[in-house]
């Protein structure tokens, strides 16, 4: 028996200071990313207000970029909370894109068949990632690093072997009238934007073939996907039994197993979800560009992980927030596009980002210690 300091458990009340409402509201996992977001917006409001960055068109510009980051960050966030990494996200984006292009353009399948095939294959690879991690007990870092190379290599090989090119174009012609492609490439709320333009709230083209149409003619499906995925993942994580299991699988897999949580299944499903998110990203991008390229998605896995970490997630799992990750993605997008609007040399993007990453993580670590009682 360790007969050292006696800690009175029952009288704990009198030893715990009352926590003020304000402090309670502030102490949350997303605080680092909330502060970062405010900081970034204040900075660009001061520096680039007159550049059109905060007009409808400018907002759409950084909104789309942020949404791209958000889509892959949501997947990476849930996976990281479940205690695993996926470094193959970037390669998966390139891979899914090429699968869609090969199926539809080169082999002539309808676009919806191509998209569904890409999703099935990618989610299958996500399953394989998860299965290998669970079965071998190796760190997911290593297993998915292997797939980073395997998938990228296969993507380039497949593109070269079938078409002799690494970029496959001609997607636009295949998209026309396809019901599923519209879900990834179209825009919604067009009527609203016409109305807004008529009301003089947003600008119209004054010349050219589109004269009289609003400059911003709708919300791209990419942004819709990002919002839907964020809401879905947030509710799943914080409000459902499965969300509780995600936290548990990453917090302490063995303890979770003892209480009957199917840890293996949870982790494999999260690998599949991450692959799903990467494919959503890839499909939207292919629709937007009208082409697929074998080198798409380079370094995206790290950008996703950085967004998640800025959002307050713990690298070792068991702790984090989807809202935080989404704000991390917003910071990412606003900084990347904002520096362009501000006319700053774009290489400074990385400096700025590194600085924010460091600040947010320091703040997050401090907050997490308060919440979880880590020493």
């Amino acid at each position: 028996m360790t007969a050292d300091k006696a800690e009175p458990a029952l009288e704990k009340d009198e030893r715990v200071k009352e926590i003020s409402g304000f402090r309670k509201a502030m102490i949350r996992p997303e605080l680092g990313s909330i502060c970062g977001t405010i900081l970034v917006f204040v900075f660009f409001l001061l520096v680039a207000r007159d550049s059109g960055m905060f007009s409808a068109e400018g907002a759409l510009n950084w909104g789309v970029v942020s949404a791209q980051f958000a889509i892959i960050a949501v997947g990476a966030c849930l996976l990281m909370i479940a205690g695993e990494f996926d470094l193959s996200v970037g390669s998966m984006i390139g891979f899914s894109g090429i699968v869609i292009a090969l199926m539809s353009v080169t082999w002539g399948f309808p676009m919806w068949v191509a998209i569904i095939t890409a999703f099935v294959v990618a989610v299958g690879i996500g399953w394989l990632n998860g299965y290998l991690v669970i079965r071998t007990g190796l760190p997911s870092f290593i297993v998915t690093l292997a797939f980073l190379y395997i998938l990228r290599g296969l993507t380039i090989f497949a593109a070269i072997a079938t078409t002799n090119k690494t970029i496959i174009g001609g997607i636009r012609d295949r998209v026309e009238g396809d019901w599923l492609a519209a879900l990834f490439g179209g825009k919604i709320l067009k009527g609203l934007f016409v109305w807004l333009a008529d009301a003089g709230l947003i600008g119209k083209f004054v010349a050219g073939s589109r004269a009289g149409q609003p400059i911003v003619d709708g919300v791209p499906m990419l942004i819709v996907w990002a919002i839907v995925l964020i809401i879905f993942a947030h509710l799943l994580l914080t409000r459902t039994q499965f969300g509780n299991w995600i936290y548990a699988a990453g917090g302490d897999a063995q303890a979770a197993r003892y209480t009957g949580v199917p840890v293996e299944r949870v982790k494999i499903l999260m690998f599949m979800f991450t692959a799903f998110c990467a494919t959503v990203f890839a499909t939207c991008q292919v629709m937007e560009f009208g082409s697929a390229a074998a080198d798409r998605g380079l370094l995206k896995e790290f950008e996703a992980i950085i967004s998640v970490v800025i959002g307050g997630a713990l690298l070792t799992g068991g702790y984090g927030s989807v809202i935080g990750a989404a704000l991390g993605a917003l910071i990412f997008g606003v900084v990347q596009q904002g520096l362009f609007f501000a006319g700053v040399e774009s290489s400074l993007f990385r400096v700025f980002l590194g600085g924010i990453l460091l600040l947010a993580v320091i703040l997050n670590t401090y907050i997490r210690r308060i919440i979880t009682g880590e020493r």
Binding site: D4, P8, D13, L235, N244, Y319, T372, G373
Partner: protein
């Protein structure tokens, strides 16, 4: 004598060439605290893992309420009312008390086509159950990491009791605790026993065992050295049985009877 809640007869467990258990028997009656004592390596852990469905025995039989059963998984044992509280693995420190308390059995509330956790009920029940065990939480969203070691054990025990455990296996619940926390946990064991739940209390500390135990079984090198009732055996005798006799007597001589 009533039918034991659980009875294990001549359990043997071999891991390859190693014989971890060579015929261990133990029974637990309602409202009884049965102490399982033994030094490190005596086979205590293997035995309780057999009892809680982690291992299946190589030989021997397990009887629940007098009927022979076998556990294919921990889930089977939990469903049969056998709950195990592991020393380090009882709780997930990063998660809130409520989330830990309901882990794996979250109460659900239907909203449209979706099933959400009913946090209103979950929080209320958690606070009530903890209050019954004498722990006043600041709030149910408090992370378990902010609780002391004794409080964590108590949350785990309260959870097992709330979910209808008939037999509660406690794996060295006091070995890492200070004096005050230990007495809190021992008091909790007493409360649980009074509800008619059978408790298996694993320890290598004779004093803790003597404080709450009704019966004592000593394991040594994978074998039962016998079961004794409270009052039939002195702490010194138990200590001696655990350590296997002679060596400790020698040690005790040189340490002046302080062990």
């Amino acid at each position: 004598m009533t039918t034991p809640l659980i009875e294990l007869r001549d359990i043997e467990k071999h891991f390859g060439a190693v014989i971890a258990l060579a015929g261990v028997s133990l029974s637990v009656h309602p409202g009884e605290c049965h102490c399982l004592l033994g030094d490190n390596g005596a086979g205590k852990s293997t035995f309780i893992k057999t009892m809680s469905g982690v291992h299946s025995p190589t030989k021997g039989s397990i009887l629940v309420d007098g009927a022979e059963t076998s556990f294919a998984s921990t889930r089977d044992a939990i469903d049969a009312g056998i709950a195990t509280v592991y020393q380090d693995l009882a709780m997930i420190p990063l998660m809130s008390v409520t989330r830990n308390f309901w882990m794996g059995r979250e109460p659900k509330k239907r909203v449209g086509p979706f099933n959400f956790i009913d946090f209103g009920t979950a929080n209320q029940v958690t606070m009530d159950e903890m209050a019954k065990m004498g722990i006043r939480l600041r709030e149910p969203n408090q992370a378990v990491g902010t609780l002391s070691g004794g409080e964590r054990q108590t949350v785990a025990i309260a959870r097992a009791v709330h979910f209808g455990a008939k037999v509660l296996i406690l794996d060295e619940p006091t070995s890492a605790l200070g004096v005050r926390q230990t007495s809190n946990v021992l008091a909790t064991i007493d409360k649980v026993r009074k509800k008619g739940i059978g408790v298996v209390f694993i320890s290598h500390n004779v004093r803790h065992a003597m404080a709450v135990g009704d019966r004592f079984t000593v394991l040594n090198r994978g074998q039962t050295l016998g079961t004794a009732k409270r009052g039939e055996i002195s702490p010194e005798e138990l200590q001696e049985l655990m350590a296997g006799g002679q060596e400790l007597a020698e040690l005790e001589g040189s340490l002046g009877g302080t062990v």
